[in-house]
């Protein structure tokens, strides 16, 4: 405890100096700057310069065709080759093209942004983790002792997801869906954890990006609706309810059809909101240090200690959330897939009574 106080005192000696450099701290901008996608990857700043990784920008405009350039071209005055980053409107923070007649046009933006690069890094990491684990199995037989260490951990998690989530939720042909759901789970888990680590190559807010979560939910959506069996579609279009609920006005089928779309929507928003909220809280707590530091050491030091304590607490909580959200996403996907592969009700009842 004494040591902690000593560290805090030393830290507090530096904070006023840092705080006085910035005239005023725009908390909203800091938080949204970290949560949002960007064209370059800001690693860290010193007093003199920002350390930034430049990323390629790829645009296709209907008017002027393809454009390729690095993001450092945008830094100088925020515009290049007729493109500039808008500040407001529906596309705030995105590149738009100003046509010669003065109108603005949103191009097809295929830039390798921070999130896109984060996705690639996380995918590579995921590949390395799983393939390294897979390598162990190439040299061992089932009669050998179970693996220990890292391989054992991965095997344990895989076996747990398969046995506790996929097998009971999907049903009898769970083996077909296991690789997809496992990939989903590990991608979300790796991305969530990587999002909590603040420094490059981690730190991209991948699962807090709605396009990423939408993509994952769309995978579930397509899997459910493409591989859904007759029983699934019958339950939607002609469910087992009194006729007046479905005959003249298709009330229940209407609700069921809306349900098809609300399921992936809920998946998208749940993961996105959870990760965004967690990041926002941690960032806000970090900002507390810099805001209170400007108010003198009497307020600054205790508040810094308090916010450090809460940051550690929140980071631990976020680690838990990282796992839980990956688990929940996988479980709900598995349940939706399981519902789309259900056997006939009567057969199921028979099975239950037999058991």
């Amino acid at each position: 405890m004494k040591r902690l106080i000593a560290i805090l005192t030393i830290l507090s000696a530096f904070i006023p100096v840092m705080a006085t450099d910035a005239e005023r701290i725009d908390v909203k901008e800091i938080i949204f700057g970290h949560l949002k996608d960007s064209y370059e990857w800001h690693v860290f700043s010193t007093a003199n310069r920002d350390y930034v990784i430049d990323l390629p920008v790829m645009l296709y405009s209907k008017a002027t065709g393809w454009h390729f350039f690095m993001s450092d071209k945008l830094e100088e005055n925020g515009s290049y080759d007729g493109f500039h980053i808008t500040k407001e409107g529906a596309h705030a923070g995105k590149l738009v093209e100003t046509l010669p007649d003065g109108t603005e046009l949103k191009p097809l933006d295929l830039s390798l942004t921070k999130v896109a690069l984060g996705v690639i890094i996380n995918c590579l990491l995921l590949c390395i983790i799983i393939m390294c684990t897979g390598r162990w199995y190439r040299h061992h037989k089932e009669t050998d002792a179970a693996p220990r260490g890292f391989v054992g951990l991965i095997e344990y998690v895989v076996a747990m997801i398969v046995d506790d989530v996929i097998k009971p939720s999907v049903g009898k042909d769970y083996k077909r869906y296991a690789p997809l759901l496992l990939t989903m789970f590990f991608f979300i888990l790796v991305s969530n954890i990587m999002g909590l680590i603040p420094i490059f190559p981690a730190g991209a807010n991948v699962t807090g990006n709605i396009a990423v979560t939408l993509f994952l939910a769309l995978i579930t959506f397509f899997t459910v609706n493409i591989f859904g069996n007759r029983e699934y579609w019958k339950e939607i279009l002609w469910p087992d309810v009194p006729v007046f609920l479905k005959a003249p006005v298709p009330l229940l089928p209407f609700i069921e059809i809306i349900g098809i779309f609300t399921k992936p929507f809920a998946l998208t928003v749940r993961l996105f909101a959870n990760m965004t909220a967690g990041h926002a809280i941690i960032l806000a707590l970090t900002c507390v240090i810099f805001i209170t530091a400007g108010m003198g050491p009497l307020i600054g030091v205790p508040m810094t200690g308090l916010s450090l304590f809460f940051m550690v607490f929140m980071n631990c909580l976020e680690l838990l959330v990282a796992y839980i959200q990956a688990y929940v996403f996988t479980m709900l996907s598995a349940v939706f897939i399981g519902l789309s592969r259900q056997e006939h009700h009567d057969e199921k009842k028979k099975e239950i009574t037999n058991n």
């Binding site: 529906a90 933006d109 942004t113 897979g134 089932e142 990939t183």
Partner: protein
């Protein structure tokens, strides 16, 4: 609000990266792990089954062993008892035989002694007779020098014989 609008570019990158990763992992990654876990759990089930069977067999062998041991003990006791009986029998027989042999030796010895005694008696009698004959001869030769004396002698002898017998 722009935080809530999905960007098409990100979706495209996601599709490419996640698609490749899914392809790789679904082909070479996860099946290896899940197959191995399944195989190992099968193997463990089989091993448990085998262990159970082995334990059962072992129990059977154990009881068999116990039965065999009991039988062996009974056999041993029987053999020992038989041996004891036989020993006593042999000893008794030997004693009988020794007794018989001893008796025979003793009776033989007695017989021999008796015979030797008779022989000795017979020899003695013959010697006495011879001696008495020689004595008689000498006496007769010496005393029959005179007729009177001869006659006296004969008379005495006849008297002796008459009174002696």
């Amino acid at each position: 609000m722009d935080l809530l609008i999905p960007e098409v570019g990100t979706l495209v990158w996601m599709l490419i990266a996640a698609g490749i990763v899914f392809f790789i992992l679904a082909k070479w990654g996860f099946p290896m792990i899940t197959d191995m876990v399944d195989k190992r759990s099968d193997y463990i089930d089989k091993s448990l089954d085998a262990a159970k069977k082995a334990a059962e067999r072992l129990e059977g062998i154990q009881s068999e062993c116990d039965a065999l041991l009991k039988e062996t003990r009974a056999e041993k006791a029987r053999i020992l008892k038989e041996a004891t009986d036989r020993r006593e029998e042999i000893i008794a027989e030997a004693e009988n035989r020794a007794k018989e042999a001893g008796e025979k030796i003793i009776s033989d010895a007695r017989e021999q002694i008796r015979q030797e005694k008779e022989e000795a008696l017979r020899g003695l009698r013959r010697q006495v007779a011879e001696l008495s004959v020689q004595v008689a001869e000498k006496v007769v030769m010496k005393q029959l020098d005179s007729d009177e004396e001869q006659l006296n002698m004969i008379d005495r002898m006849i008297d002796d014989v008459k009174t002696g017998r």
